[in-house]
């Protein structure tokens, strides 16, 4: 307990405290000067406003897209619903900056779709720009709508069918039932999903970095990146504190909604499947429309990434003669990429192992041993969940990049940051895994005469193993492709895969970036399949 507490204190609490503390410090004296700076320079407070409106717009679009798709995929007689659903969820298994890269390949100047539109309509230039606010909101929506989709689809499925049947028996027609019964009942889920999308968009770095910085359109996360490059720690920490504040407010709102939702418990865990809406003559037209949407947001970006990886050079005419495997060969021989792959594998494996170990200890103390104070520990360990990763990276620089313990420029500082980022995920999976092991199974072992270690070794860990392995992969996979933390903490020799892909893309070597990204994509989709197999489809995307 003490060891786990010390770990959480050093990895989570102390660094985050440093961020808050430093934001009120100017030349060693407490002051509000950093905050004054934010509000006196238009470029900084505009970043705050940009963050808020971009996230709001994204959330609104996610709500519309996610709710419509969720309804069509759960409650109608659309053909191939399961396949559609799997494909819709697929892009979320890939990192958001991959999405940004893929959409630049598709819609950017010389993009595949852009070239198609120019050819078909004979425009001189395409009537849109992927760089800037519009492009950012578009890619954020395509990436985060799935959060609304999953929560709403879940609520629609868990809804008691008899509530709708009772309305029908009372004489309500289909559209009346939808408006007066179904929609009000899933409204909390829609709002919760929308807030999740808001938080995701707010904390995202990769998409506004690749699509916004070039157009000089800054949001909070990219401004923090910029402030660190100056470097101006006062400014960076003040912006960070504001970012965390907005995220926390949103989360508080979401908790409130969840509470309200559980108060009327009409959405129960019953297995009665609600009736399907017959689409009749609309069935195939709608199916074609949805399939087009799925192809557009799930299939095209992946195809585009692979296609780019196979191109002789970016922007080459599409012909068989211009296809080659040399990019893959180059990536595999390229020293920086090799090092990055090794670094990411190391960081992923070590952070997954340590996070799962500490997570298991915390969960056992909290869920099984029910020790006093373990609830607080559990809460502290899940704090980073609410903190955007940019802020976590800054926290690590403040806490662990100065004497006496200077880890800056080493892999260790990235590892510590990864641990803070992924500890909440580990604690959550171990909590739910251990909760599934019924208390009486451990009590029976006690009554059989088993002390703590035999109980863990013979009963609890074997029963929790599938969940533990799934949890390990759930940390390993996102760590393998991590960008936000590594881009702020890397130095020469400690690049990660995310950093190399980002830098290659930024420097214009798009086919090389695409080749490396394609390799990672393959690994991620494979890992995701393994998790779904292991957990029977409960975990994974």
């Amino acid at each position: 307990m003490a060891a786990a507490g010390a770990f959480v204190l050093l990895i989570v609490i102390y660094p985050l405290w440093q961020v808050l503390f430093r934001s009120f410090l100017d030349a060693g004296v407490l002051s509000l000067k950093s905050y004054q700076k934010v509000f006196s320079y238009p470029s900084y407070y505009r970043a705050l406003l940009n963050s808020v409106w971009v996230s709001c717009a994204t959330a609104a679009m996610c709500v519309v897209l996610g709710t419509l798709l969720a309804f069509l995929v759960t409650r109608t007689d659309l053909p191939l619903k399961k396949t559609l659903r799997t494909l819709l969820v697929l892009p979320y298994a890939l990192p958001s900056f991959f999405a940004a890269i893929a959409w630049i390949q598709l819609l950017g100047p010389q993009g595949y779709l852009a070239r198609l539109v120019l050819q078909v309509f004979g425009f001189a230039t395409v009537p849109w720009s992927i760089y800037g606010a519009g492009g950012i909101v578009f890619v954020l929506t395509v990436h985060y709508f799935i959060l609304v989709f999953i929560t709403v689809a879940g609520a629609l499925e868990r809804m008691d069918a008899s509530l709708e049947e009772a309305a029908r028996a009372s004489g309500a027609g289909t559209s009346q039932i939808m408006r007066q019964i179904t929609l009000p009942l899933v409204l909390p889920a829609i709002m919760a999903g929308g807030l999740l999308a808001f938080i995701g968009a707010l904390a995202n770095f990769g998409i506004p970095a690749l699509l916004g910085m070039r157009a000089r359109f800054f949001v909070l996360t990219t401004s923090i990146y910029y402030a660190l490059a100056i470097p101006d720690f006062g400014l960076a920490t003040a912006l960070s504190s504001m970012l965390v504040l907005v995220a926390l407010l949103t989360m508080a709102l979401q908790f409130g909604i969840q509470r309200g939702e559980s108060r009327f418990t009409v959405i129960s865990g019953k297995a009665v499947h609600p009736s399907e809406l017959k689409l009749r003559s609309l069935r195939y037209p709608l199916f074609l429309l949805i399939s087009a949407v799925v192809v557009f947001i799930s299939i095209l970006p992946i195809l585009s990434m692979v296609l780019t990886a196979l191109m002789r050079y970016w922007g080459a005419p599409l012909s068989a003669a211009n296809l080659t495997l040399q990019n893959f060969a180059y990536v595999l021989k390229f020293e920086t990429a090799q090092r990055a792959i090794m670094n990411s594998l190391f960081l992923g494996a070590v952070s997954a192992t340590v996070a799962m170990f500490v997570g298991t200890v915390i969960s056992y103390l909290h869920v099984k041993a029910k020790l006093k104070g373990s609830r607080v520990l559990d809460f502290l360990a899940t704090i980073p969940y609410a903190v955007p990763h940019t802020v976590i990276a800054i926290a690590m620089i403040l806490a662990w990049a100065r004497p006496p313990v200077s880890l800056y420029g080493t892999l260790w500082i990235i590892l510590v940051a990864y641990l803070a980022v992924y500890l909440p995920f580990a604690v959550r999976t171990t909590n739910s895994t251990l909760q599934q092991v019924h208390d009486s199974l451990e009590e029976a072992a006690k009554a059989s005469g088993a002390k703590l270690l035999p109980r863990l070794r013979d009963i609890i860990l074997p029963l929790a193993r599938p969940g533990m392995i799934a949890g390990w992969i759930l940390v390993f996979m996102p760590a393998l492709r991590e960008l936000t933390v590594s881009i702020l903490l890397y130095a020469y020799h400690t690049e990660t895969i995310g950093v190399v892909v980002y830098n290659m893309q930024d420097a214009g070597y798009r086919e090389i970036a695409a080749a490396l990204a394609s390799i990672v994509m393959g690994l991620l989709i494979l890992g995701n399949t393994i998790i779904r197999k292991l957990t029977g489809g409960i975990a994974g995307f």
Partner: protein, 353 residues
Amino acid sequence: MEKIRIINLSKRYGKVVAADAVTFSVGDKEFFSLLGPSGCGKSTVLRCVAGLEEPTEGEIYIGRTRMNSTADRISVPTEFRPIGMVFQNYAIWPHMTVHGNVAYPLKLKKLAQDLIESKVKSALHTVGLERLADRYPSQLSGGEQQRVALARALIKEPEVLLLDEPLSNLDAKLREQMRFELKDLQRRTGIPILYVTHDQAEALAMSDRLAVMNVGRIVQVGTPTDIYTRPVDRFVADFIGLMNFVPGRIISREGESATVEFFSGHRLSVADRSDLGGECLVAMRPEDISLSPTGPIRCRVEVRSYAGHLVDYKIRADGAVLRVQTAKTEIYQEGEEVGFAVERAMLFAARES
């Protein structure tokens, strides 16, 4: 000699009192039940004996050894207590075979392999599972899982066996069969059993003695006959078996019998040692009421339901509705006007304090 002794045991969760000054003991070779409605604290008491809960106050002895004493800050961990325990959901480890489950307590004791084998074999024989030793729990029926749990609890030869509603997850037929098997097993092994149940029929059928609990307190301890025929208060009378209550008035007392007036002037002499007087409640078991065309108290048959071995009636007399059970040979029609006589009754205070 007493095998389990519980002295003044209390357990509080914040302001909620789960067990309140509970005191009782279980003798050698005794089958002792804790009986009560759900939430009465019976499982809490059992879990305190097992060491799975810490008492807020009180002492617990198993054999001669003190397991808990809040005064002396003694609390022996579960794994060091000489107990075997069967859980409501059996708690069979799903990743181990039947053999693995039953052998586990002996493996922890680091016994020699061949000794373990022979003991497991005889334990599986005792519960009739020797052919299923290599099965996994998911391949077993509820009754078979129950037997695995029993074998696992018995194999380390504990001083006492603790059973927490072990039959409540079985279907009615199997439950009756297991009652006999449990009783038989206890006779053969002679192990004292502390048994927790909310099913009064189960407790009456199996126990040598039982304690009836209500809101954390023990209301009555006694043999099944004691408790069925001489319940100490209205709660026990109502909870154990079926009971009809009608208002009455005690008009005279003579030694250990009282004359009570009920059903508009009808009088009955009742064996009663209490000091009740005036208004009271008259309690009658359904089998202590006999129907006949010429019975002294007039009534009307409201509902008749045929239960195979007997006939169950609801009759209305003087505004009260009574349950009556008669032999299956006596059949009256619904709506028929008949009479009844009360053969035995008990008296309780009109208002519970």
